[in-house]
Subunit: 435 residues, 4 copies
């Protein structure tokens, strides 16, 4: 099976309104200059009738695809019945249902005992809440984050983010955070957990004992670097030994993307705090959570608040998603199988061109050597009807973030497009392939 | 007309799930221990059949009431048609429609030339983006905010917030922001704009020239202090003279709450940057904007980004709200009339008890002298079916944030409850009134 | 009596070596382009035989004049006998003698119970130690300093300094310090202590409770603003009420300059911490102290250290100075009389030209309206053999810091020169007077 | 030859005055509880007639011994002739003489073109000035310092210092500085310069491009770690490549301690900025310098100032020291020979006990494994009349900082005491040896 782009859309939409009224800060819209109007499952459609297979999934926000019928119907019913849309942090039946479902389907089977904090409904807000809590509980100020880590754009989270151009946007120095090398950063022979332990154990290293160590198990924006269980356990042990909390930022890797509901499942690590967002609502609605051990729940009422922390529409779709996808083991088995398929195909492409792959589960990519080549590849894919993006310090990783619900044939079809586009880009000098 | 609470709900909901699984950071749920299930217009309903008149409006997030039928229908239609729910910052027909509607109905008639930045969909994120941009454009780091100002909970915005207990939650020092006295802070005889000008003009004052002056025209959380046009103009002139940008945080006072769509209309002030959130989506959905003069739009693509910056459901309801309420002058005239009604009633209550009132438009309150008394009053109101909350440094202001669409009779009825509850609270020692 | 400049020195020294090898950061050498070779009492001599009456006194470092014979002899004897020059913080007889003399002559008669910390021998180091200790003891981070305050150039002290051009030299933001208006800053009608109390008492002012309030009783660099006892007591009370330590920076105003050994004597205020430097050694040798109540002495051994904290030469001259000048009341009475003489003369000059005076004791100046005029006056004085400098935010204060040991006739003679130079500068357009 | 302690001093001095009036922050006085009264050359004497061979040399402040007769006489003559003691930054003949001598004897023969900035006369102040200048010139804020680095106690320098207990004294977070591993920190197989380059070259590492890299060529307080020329050149190249200034803090290793006048001589590295203090005055008087390339001399007049920046007594002794010791090559050859003697002796002691040595030139030590053992050794030495101290993160290095002018026989005699004391400490359980 191949994807046929039923109606190529050579003309870009009338973008005058965007040029007139939207800030130049917009980014994705530049490489995908279409006006999108509808989306269902793995497909997006534009206003010219173009159809696109979505291997970006809102950067892992749409793990269950667009407008999944079960979630959509739950939301339509809720709105039609005048369910609470906005309730600050008031108790609502939607919130209670979400909490109970989360407890039953997610926490209990995994023997996890977490409290949920409804932070403002953005990932960056969940990260801010997590590090605030860690600082409050430990009485320390520093946070250790990692090279290539990405944690958000508000000032506290941005300080934890590695990307220099994002950081420069702060306009003030980003303090209280040290970035340490992630696993493999200095090559296979250097154990970066050991480097970190050495400095934290040394009272004269200049690296003060931190409030928290903040880590992604797979670095989504930073290049799909996947940490090994051994390294994660070493980091968890370092945190424990030095009185720091372990925060796993599971915003991109969680909700099934890396395999389990939490990306750290099966790794022998239980974080003190976990942040979730992106696919949590299941339908792309703004929703974020910070989870933490009950002993850490030392907030004063309202000490961290926010207008939209009770986005009830998201509670509804999130609870529906948990019930639909995570009640049994079938979905997770499907994801695992698709992840292996993805791995095989990417490994083959890499082998063909002497490249390397990255990632875990359904969160994988291929390092094509430079941002220019990667950009040429994704542009060629887009011209063939495949939405796909790059990642990494130099945007040199073509990353596949297909919806987890994609059927295997469509996944293969999309990867065919990627394979062709890579061949094209690597066969010819840069600049030609993208035309 | 009086409101009759059809079925008093003496029993609180089963809160075990909240105690087990929700963080103790929750706040409103403590003083309003009900489980809410439905809401329409000015009314909220709980799961025991209780009905509540909503004079809180999601802290001004629900200016058009709950689930307004026009907005609700627009959203239902959009979802049913598989409209894009989540689109990162891709162009969508929903976004284009919002931008065009905002331009036509809001900007053009007011002769305002702003670009819109879709920040993460929370007010705090819009504030973060605003001060980042001001720092970037000016190359300066400091921001001047005001006593009692409230701007959000993420680290950059929190530094601008005055409230000590919120600030303490940061766990790190909150730098780069100086808090200057708001109008009237030092009594009627001290012109606080003059105090500020004196220090900024003095090269030895220790107050470095700031990137921005960040101000609310009416301080929502800080006690409903309303700035005069003269003071705001003085502040704007100070900003201009010292090369700082003027940022009006219109998150709570905007969208009609203080009278006009922007709270600064008719005051002779044009901010360089404006932040909007809360009632922007019209239906309580997460949505926030930073608006700024095109010359200031110096972002690099993606320099400030975020997963949910394209909350298309909110674009749909926001555009519908603009069309429905702001196309003509009728709504604004209604709000003005209700604001005067509110003013008269509050003034009368204040006069009866020797108290004072605060605020502007439909954003008014009464200073009852202490948080204890105010708490007793709001508890008494709640027992009578009226949801109402407090504000101010000591929670000493009972604030009325009724939906702007409330009809005059219901507004009066709600104020009757408030009047009775105040009498009760002030007639008897604290503690009795609340029973 | 008039001073006759025995041999005018029209030629400036060979400054090639300075241009080649000294940083352009040098300042005083620019307005006094002579090569100085000798100094005794109130006089300095240059290498051309020029003689200058010193009304600058090393910015109050030479209160007892240059090379006072008693101190000089004590130092010569000590060096000749191979006394310890440098001893880290080891016990030496010179240190013991200093401590005992300080206890007997300074502390006991004033009923003050302070411990002495030998910080690095610069004023800025004493200020750094003082604020470190205040932060350590209180567990708070903020410091309140005042407009026009000057406390030093290292990062911690610089943050407390008001001067914008000094601050800009930091190259990083200067945090953890708020500058509040000094007494009289907003005119006679605004009680700035009240402004401060209002904000510290307000939990929503954004001004967090500080570790310390750091104040000069007379602002040396900031324009010779002299605080009243009432205001100082109010500030002390504010510090006490809000759990902050009161630090009096007595580096310039102490050691007799403002009248008593400590500038706060007789004002009803006992600081928690006092910093001393400048005239402490008596002969201009580097020496600084932080004094604090014994209960605050919570340092760990070596927690604040420094190579030169045991400048024993300075201990020797400092002890000799205490014995010679402060054993009885004669010196202080002389200083008081000279201070009144200085006050009368400056008041008369001010009255003649409609100007105002500032200061207290032997630390007084005249506000001539602009830095240009003040510069013309000091240049004219210098041409007549009088070394005198300016102060204030705009260098608009001509300040008289004559040695305290000056005899009344020479003081008058120097003031005659000042009087003439002021007349000259104010009689003719700027630029002519200075020739 | 052996040192005979002519009169053991079992009784400690009357320390009541210190307990009453000196802060508990004192440190060296605790392990050497004597009252010292005189010092000449390599000897210190106490008030009980005890005599001590000084292998501490004021932590390398007394490289030429105590009260060297040439320097002493120059100072006595200067004071007797009423030379300027304190002259702010005015031109004096003493300063001119120092600058000319420094140019002729130090700079010209080494083909170095530096300007001298007379910072406040403490090492920490020179470091503060150096990093301020680097920040000003580059417009960047970050500084990279190294593990185990020690640079001073004022806030800016303290942020560059690695020691955790010193850092904790700040009471505020120490920002804008990242501590990277010094050469050998992660063992012989990890090239820490490569680790640093990797992160600075990576736009997503979270390590922002710094204003400066601040390094000691031998870490005095940090354990006598000596960098290799190759590593230093790599660091210099990294600084150059990334637009950062290279600052060598030569406060402890300079002035002959590591061999040459500058510790970096012969290493193929020319720093952009150099800091000097400690032995610069030659006689232990407070004096510090920042040296920098003329193009970097971008200060405004007075932008960094300080009362004691013109310590003319120190200029006199410093110039005398330069002339006496550095005019020809004899002194440096003597130091080299003594350094080799020291190296051989320490290597032998280390070999005997299976320990390792550290350092370079006359700045060497032996790692005895723990601070407890090292303390026992230094205590045993002290009981035998040898003043010697420890260094390193755990005070585990016994460091020899003998005066450079020591004759070889006395150096050997002192090392005999050390050898005996080490044997004693390692032969018996800890606690016995020290008696």
């Amino acid at each position: 099976m191949t994807i046929t782009q039923p109606k190529p859309t050579p003309s870009i939409p009338d973008i005058a309104i965007y040029e007139r009224r939207e800030s130049v800060v917009r980014s994705y819209a530049r490489s995908m200059p279409r006006q999108f109007t509808q989306a269902q499952g793995v497909w997006m459609r534009d206003d010219q009738g173009g159809r696109y297979l979505d291997f970006l999934s809102g950067c892992s926000t749409l793990n269950y695809g667009h407008n999944h019928p079960v979630l959509k119907q739950a939301l339509l019913d809720y709105i039609a019945a005048d369910g609470i849309a906005h309730g600050l942090d008031l108790h609502t039946d939607a919130k209670a249902d979400f909490l109970e479902t989360f407890e039953d389907i997610i926490l209990k089977p995994r023997k996890l005992d977490y409290r949920a904090m409804f932070t403002g409904p953005t990932g960056t807000n969940a990260v801010e809440a997590a590090i605030k809590l860690a600082r409050k509980v430990t009485g320390r100020e520093g946070v250790i984050a990692f090279t290539n880590g990405f944690h958000g754009m508000t000032l506290g989270a941005l300080a934890c983010t590695g990307n220099a151009s994002k950081r420069a946007g702060a306009g003030v120095p980003l303090n209280h955070v040290a970035h340490e090398p992630y696993e493999g950063y200095h090559g296979p022979d250097v154990d970066t957990a050991e480097l970190l332990e050495r400095r934290l154990a040394d009272p004269s290293s200049g690296l003060d004992a931190p409030a928290a160590i903040l880590v992604e198990t797979v670095q989504g924006e930073g290049g799909l670097n996947a940490a090994s269980p051994a390294w994660l356990r070493a980091i968890a042990e370092i945190a424990r030994r030095h009185g720091a909390l372990l925060i796993v930022d599971d915003i991109q890797a969680g909700c099934g993307r890396a395999g389990g509901f939490f990306s750290f499942e099966g790794m022998g690590v239980t974080p003190d705090i976990v942040t979730l967002a992106k696919s949590l609502s299941g339908m792309g609605l703004p929703f974020a959570l910070a989870l933490f051990r009950p002993e850490l729940d030392q907030w004063l009422p309202g000490e961290h608040n926010g207008t939209f922390r009770g986005n009830n529409h998201a509670f509804v779709t999130a609870a529906a998603a948990l019930r639909h996808f995570w009640s049994g083991g079938e979905f997770q088995a499907d994801v695992a199988r698709r992840g292996r398929l993805l791995e095989r195909r990417l490994d083959a492409m890499a082998a063909e061109h002497g490249l390397s792959t990255r990632g875990r589960g359904m969160m994988r990519g291929i390092d094509v050597g430079s941002g220019e080549i990667a950009g040429a590849i994704t542009a060629a894919c887009f011209a063939r009807g495949l939405i796909i993006e790059t990642s990494g310090a130099h945007d040199e990783i073509v990353k596949v973030l297909a919806p987890l619900i994609i059927d295997d044939a469509l996944l293969s079809a999309g990867l065919d497009i990627l394979e062709t586009s890579i061949r094209e880009a690597l066969a010819v000098p840069y600049g030609v392939a993208a035309e």
